[in-house]
Symmetry: C2
Subunit: 512 residues, 2 copies
């Protein structure tokens, strides 16, 4: 237990001070403060000494230097059980500061509210973090409070221990304090790196705010939590059980695809983070039914993401199958009523979900792989038609759609499309030929395509002719794939012999 006799308060966020000041007063804690905090404390009619009065050193440089003084820092940093420290204090006529309540200039908010560099720089707090770090280092003797949210805990602690705090409490607060200072400087560092387009600095600091601890991770024996590099998620959980790790993983996978589709159009069905049906038909019910038809077996227990507001008609259709999650850019109230009948079905409003420029990172052991997202936009210029046969407008649109979808399918990806809808998706195979076979098998099993406009996309080049051969034999009339095989010529030759449209994209779409 350490009794608190003297507190230094300097807060940017001035909320909720009164109940705390009451407790400090009751426990005869002397208060030092400055600037706006000093004024508020006086206004609330509590006693308070100004820091410049306390240090006998004036506040200078428009407030840039006020607390950076040995009297303040010796008061915080001295070890109470160290005789030589004690003598230093006496000699210099310094006194203990036992409680430091500081929160920083609001750098994070400033970043959100302005892009004026000077203003942003001016909001970098120097004195605050120094006091907090000093107090946190000396938590053995000093209590450090870095947020108004902690006032209640401090009050409870001081009431319980009659003006003192426990070692546990001080250590907990110290731990949070160092996280705050690290977070604060990480924001500054990331801001500087961002304005200088430095994606890969020699030290990379990634910071996240806890959104929620999850019941478990990918599996029940794994611990897990979800964080955001922002302060909130962009999705709203409207109904149903708590979201789990796999739900979140699938939801983000689904939304990434949805947002790559034409605005307000398209249904994506996801199972185990892979798409098992995507359609961009204009009529929403047709669109869902077509996406579902691609692989109704896999869709069981899956996630459906609609890139538009869900209406009553569609809600009735959606309710016909077992789904874990339905995502929409809002729901009509009728639709919501219908869907909410299923107690466990999770409903997600994705209206505010925007694809950001955040880098993607993934870790393994101590290693972190960081990369920019695969978001390159396509136009007709990005492709080269290498076959004699040229694509029809319909084929071309379907090819672009198919190639876009295969970007989100785990490699090796083969996507078959007819009439703006996937009709066969082959994924997650170590061999491209196997992915072709899987896509074809699905198509033959579920939709028995006879379309003469069947097209296919491949995320990477065909190393041999065999994959293309298999597709053509199954009715595919046009294929898009990146070039790059040493057998490209053979492949073009085969396309010409079979009157198949062949397009070489300049882009590969691996995803693991």
């Amino acid at each position: 237990m350490k009794k608190i006799k003297r507190a230094l308060i300097s807060v940017s966020d001035k909320k909720n001070l009164k109940p705390l000041l009451n407790v400090l007063k009751k426990n005869k804690v002397e208060i030092i403060s400055s600037g706006g905090t000093f004024k508020i404390i006086k206004k609330l009619k509590f006693k308070c000494t100004e820091i410049s009065e306390y240090t006998k050193s004036p506040e200078i440089l428009g407030g840039r230097v006020k607390t950076l003084h040995p009297k303040i820092h010796a008061g915080i940093l001295n070890k109470r059980n160290n005789k030589s420290h004690y003598q230093d204090l006496i000699k210099n006529n310094f006194e203990n500061i036992d409680l430091v309540i500081v929160n920083f200039y609001p750098f994070e908010n400033t970043l959100k509210n302005t892009s004026i560099h000077k203003k942003i720089i001016e909001n970098i707090d120097i004195g605050g973090p120094t006091m907090v770090r000093a107090a946190a280092k000396n938590y053995n003797d000093v209590t450090v409070i870095t947020s108004c949210d902690q006032y209640k805990k401090l009050i409870d602690e001081m009431v319980k221990f009659r003006g003192a705090t426990s070692q546990n409490f001080r250590q907990e607060m110290s731990q949070i304090a160092f996280t705050e200072t690290a977070y604060y400087d990480a924001l500054i560092s990331n801001y500087f790196n961002k304005i200088n387009n430095n994606n890969f600095p020699s030290k990379k600091i990634i910071c996240g705010n806890l959104i929620e601890k999850l019941r478990y991770g990918e599996n029940p024996h794994q611990e897990s939590a979800i964080y955001s590099q922002d302060n909130f998620l962009q999705i709203k959980h409207l109904h149903g059980k708590q979201l789990g790790y796999n739900n979140y993983n699938d939801i983000f996978a689904a939304l990434e695809i949805s947002r790559s589709l034409p605005k307000n159009v398209g249904v994506v069905i996801i199972k185990h983070s892979n798409p098992c049906g995507v359609s961009i038909l204009k009529n929403s019910v047709d669109c869902f039914k077509s996406a579902l038809a691609c692989d109704p077996v896999s869709a069981f227990g899956g996630i459906v993401s609609c890139n538009f507001k869900i209406n009553k008609k569609l809600a009735i259709e959606l309710n016909n199958i077992f789904l874990e999650v339905i995502i929409g850019n809002g729901f009509d109230s009728d639709a919501l009523k219908i869907l909410k009948k299923k107690k466990n079905l999770r409903l997600i409003d994705s209206t505010n979900f925007l694809v950001s420029n955040a880098l993607k990172f993934t870790s393994s052991n101590e290693n972190i792989l960081i990369q920019s997202e695969d978001k390159k936009k396509f136009t007709k210029k990005n492709f080269r038609i290498v076959s004699k046969k040229k694509p029809s407008k319909l084929q071309f649109d379907d090819l672009i759609f198919a190639f876009n979808v295969c970007r989100y399918v785990k490699s090796n990806a083969i996507v078959l499309v007819a009439n703006k809808t996937t009709v066969g998706i082959g994924s997650g195979q170590p061999s491209r030929l196997d992915s072709c076979q899987i896509a074809i098998d699905k198509m033959n099993k579920f939709t028995k395509q006879t379309s003469t406009d069947l097209v296919s996309a491949s995320d990477a080049f065909f190393p041999f002719v065999d994959g293309l051969e298999k597709l053509v034999q199954s009715g595919v009339r046009a294929v898009i794939q990146p070039a790059g095989s040493i057998r490209d010529k053979e492949i073009i030759k085969f396309a010409n012999e079979t009157d198949t449209v062949l397009i070489f994209s300049k882009t590969r779409h691996f995803r693991h």
Copy 2:
């Protein structure tokens, strides 16, 4: 351009000071310093004023408070073009400090070298980060140097600009400085969280050191880099082209599996981050050949990881197929000579690779999912034999091996095993039944198993009887799978009717 007239030097790492001091002297820069740095500078025979002399304030608390003084911080923080700042300086008889050279108490090394909490806490630098942050904030007027590695750049700058530094240089150094302070406090925060077993604090700070920028990411149009939460990678690149994103991704996937196998035993073949063959036969050549036989088509262009030192005999075998990467716990010199003949083949020494306790994280947009790794160890106690038929010793060992491998196969995972070797792997399917079919097809195509000891593992439960049915029809005699389906009873009944061994694990092994 800002001329440097006065420098404050306080470094923990005292390397390489002399050439820098020479340049400072040439440019008539006044030097302030304290403690060990002061002694070194004097020893090198340069002029230097001690900080306590400069501030007229004694160094106290055993060095805890020496630079936390208004004279120092006003000297750093004042805006040179601000009249009122200038007047504050004159009034208080303070002077400009234009250059701050500071590196911190070596917290990171301390963490590596001791686990004594007090010692670790004592190594938290307070004064250093304060000066660095102040100088970095005021980079418009002040140059901040945080590492000996920057001395040369500073010297070049001062020579080029006759004792001054450019705005660009100062900003770059400022950016690095904030990254250093963020990194420093992130280490402290993570240390506190670690000793308190707090995996998921309200703010999570992840920091990494750049290992190398990569040519590109998963695809050529994506930027990428690899970082380590440590200061180095645990693997050694012995030969071959630069490693790419996909190489690293596959290498880590391979090593994770290798390290889960019995010590010094086992070959893993990876393609597109999925295993396509794993064996734990004792003879290394047999082991490789068997792993390869599981799916020789997929192994083409893949990665082979040997959980042991690679000898000449095996090297000859490995050289028979096209591989991107070979990983071994070392290589015999004969083996190395043989393998190095292939100019592009990448050789990796994994002797020092250890699986750590690091959490696994993955990001999407602004969101970060964090979880503990799926590393639960199995013993016979973790399983329940639910069929009448009991497994033989051989079957049981193979079941445990199969279940361990399916942990690393992307869901839905079906792994067929005979004689300590995978003979069919179904992966990356949205439907479990499809994964069964793929595993069986591979087996029938490549190894044509007739073993009466064919066993299978499934990463999650069978929702229906159909998957198990398919496996049994193809010759599988024993199956391990997590329980949990509402049809578990039906599934047990089917196993009993077909005299199949059925084991319920208490664990699921999803991996997406």
